[in-house]
Subunit: 360 residues, 2 copies
């Protein structure tokens, strides 16, 4: 029997966290559903305003009395030359035309200070609303933010893609760390290592991270079922975080086209792109990714490129057009199912309990 | 208890195969040592002549009465323009100068027919010497070769990097298939999918492959200890194949510098390169890889580039110079140890037996 500090600390029944996917996927029904089924539901609040953040927290409280968590994007300084923005804007022009989008002459580059302010407002909401667990992506927040959250007894979970980043998370005060394997869908969480260096498979990443930190390690990337759960625990993780597996669930807010694309994809149809947002992310190859491939190293940093493509993605969603949507997915789409959260959780636990292996 | 068809069929005690690393690493002591310890030792015969192949098989027979196996490179047609060879040759010129190597004016491109002939001779040796197990990399051999080996009751193991390639291996008559995750060191075994598409982490690759073939699946890539063994079995593999873990063993023929480089490396110091051989392979970043990075898409296909760099690599080995050696390694170097094969095998089994996990 596993002496699981992670489930005890988080006060959950099963060592399963629903990945805080940003952009409308983590509906209140999804988050509460996972928490009600004995896992940890997480709000992906990366793109939410402070007000939206507060509203969703309150909505979820109506749907579950179990613990749930929230994820915030740590703001990073971005270096964006005006010229780069202009040419990225021009690159997207023909796509706008194809979608009959209004011509936009200029684009206002957001101020880092206003992004940072919004993040600090979100932190305030998390404290006021007493959300018991807060996780971070794209880095670790400042000592001041960490100290304040800890004073309010909020459990902090960081994100790492390498041993070095996991060690840094522990050093800076995170209570647990999610290690994101190269299998993972969506945005990469690397914040010290470069993109290529950060692509470490979970079979390598989990045991090496576990050997170098004393906080609980949570595995993320390509895990979809009881087999992946048990494998992660064998490697030394105390729990798992699943994105794609929950994304295709009935309760998720992902677009029908996004769910269907995953349900019909194979593991060799994924690729990395930074053309959607300015940050590297794994998704299913589509027209946008292929068209932008030769330009993707030149597009402006996150979140500028993300804002530049926002209207295109939104319009495609409304038009049910998969060509220019960001179809994020991990590397295990063949294991995805369209079922309820309750069904998925039950399947995972049932399958995991059946696995009983001896080596001789 | 696992109903393990793989260990029964191969007639070995533990579901552990020593990866057939080519280029002098798989000494007879290493291969026999693994088989004597209850695993399956494998000769990496990819670069051996038929005569060398026969000699090593006979040598190993003196050292063990347990089953062992051999791996052959399936010859692939290569398309090499004379100009590409000439410019690759020129690119290497300054490196030759640094190493005080003799100036070479011209380079003879090998004939595919002679490479193929040598492969067929190796197949003959395998049959004559009654090697019980033969595995293949870089594709699946012709129906004629497969039929002949099967008539002689030789067990055939293929290599795959994606589900599609695993299915193809089963369809073409392989008895088992090694699935090579993106974590793996050395050459990629992709033969249908492209390099990028073939980079699937084991957490995703094993369960998806297991669901789509009925032959035993053997996991390879980043597995170094009892945790990796148990995780692979949880994911549905019937066994594991380990390269880097055996490479740093006392009995391995890898250069001392190569072993030391792995023993001191971190998981984020690896990269893929095709500059050494013309085929993508994972190794520790060094001067050669970095110097050649901008040219690597232009170097001639395997095995031409491999022959072009052969003397450079050989000279560096003799001069104990790591700058231009191919320091292949998987993504788990932090788990590597320099111990005997017997010690490693015992550690793995002891650790695996201790792992006993429940999910609640």
């Amino acid at each position: 029997m596993l002496n699981n500090k992670m489930t005890k600390r988080l006060n959950i029944q099963y060592p399963i966290i629903q990945a805080p996917m940003a952009g409308g996927i983590t509906t209140s029904e999804l988050v509460a559903g996972v928490s009600n089924a004995g896992g940890l539901g997480m709000i992906g609040a990366g793109y939410l305003t402070p007000t939206q953040t507060k509203e969703q927290i309150r909505e979820i409280k109506q749907l579950t009395s179990n613990p749930f968590g929230i994820n915030l994007f740590v703001p990073n300084e971005f270096n964006v030359a005006g010229d780069a923005v202009k040419s990225a804007h021009q690159l997207l022009h023909s796509i706008r035309e194809q979608l009959n989008l209004e011509h936009i002459d200029s684009f206002d580059i957001p101020e880092f200070s206003s992004i940072f302010e919004s993040f600090m407002e979100q932190v305030k909401v998390v404290i006021e609303e007493k959300v018991p667990i807060c996780s971070f992506t794209f880095g670790v927040p400042s000592k001041e933010v960490i100290d304040e959250l800890k004073q309010h007894h909020i459990i902090l979970i960081g994100t790492a893609t390498t041993v070095r980043e996991a060690v840094e998370n522990e050093k800076l005060g995170m209570d647990m760390v999610v290690v994101q394997g190269s299998e993972a869908g969506g945005h990469r969480g690397n914040f010290i290592d470069g993109h290529q260096e950060s692509l470490v498979g979970l079979m390598s990443l989990i045991p090496q991270a576990v050997d170098h930190v004393s906080i609980p390690v949570i595995a993320a990337g390509g895990i979809m079922d009881g087999r992946g759960l048990m494998a992660s625990l064998c490697l030394g993780a105390q729990g798992i975080q699943m994105g794609t597996a929950f994304l295709t669930c009935v309760e998720s807010g992902a677009h029908r086209i996004h769910k269907d694309a995953i349900l019909h994809a194979a593991e060799d149809q994924m690729t990395f792109t930074r053309a959607f947002s300015g940050k590297w992310a794994r998704g299913i190859k589509n027209k946008f990714i292929l068209d932008m491939q030769e330009h993707e190293l030149l597009v402006p940093d996150f979140p500028v490129q993300n804002l530049l493509t926002q209207m295109i993605r939104k319009t495609c969603s409304e038009q049910n057009n998969p060509d220019f949507m960001s179809l994020w997915s991990g590397q295990s789409p063949r294991l995805a199912k369209n079922q309820t959260v309750e069904g998925l959780m039950k399947d995972i636990i049932t399958e995991a309990k059946k696995i009983n292996i001896n080596v001789y």
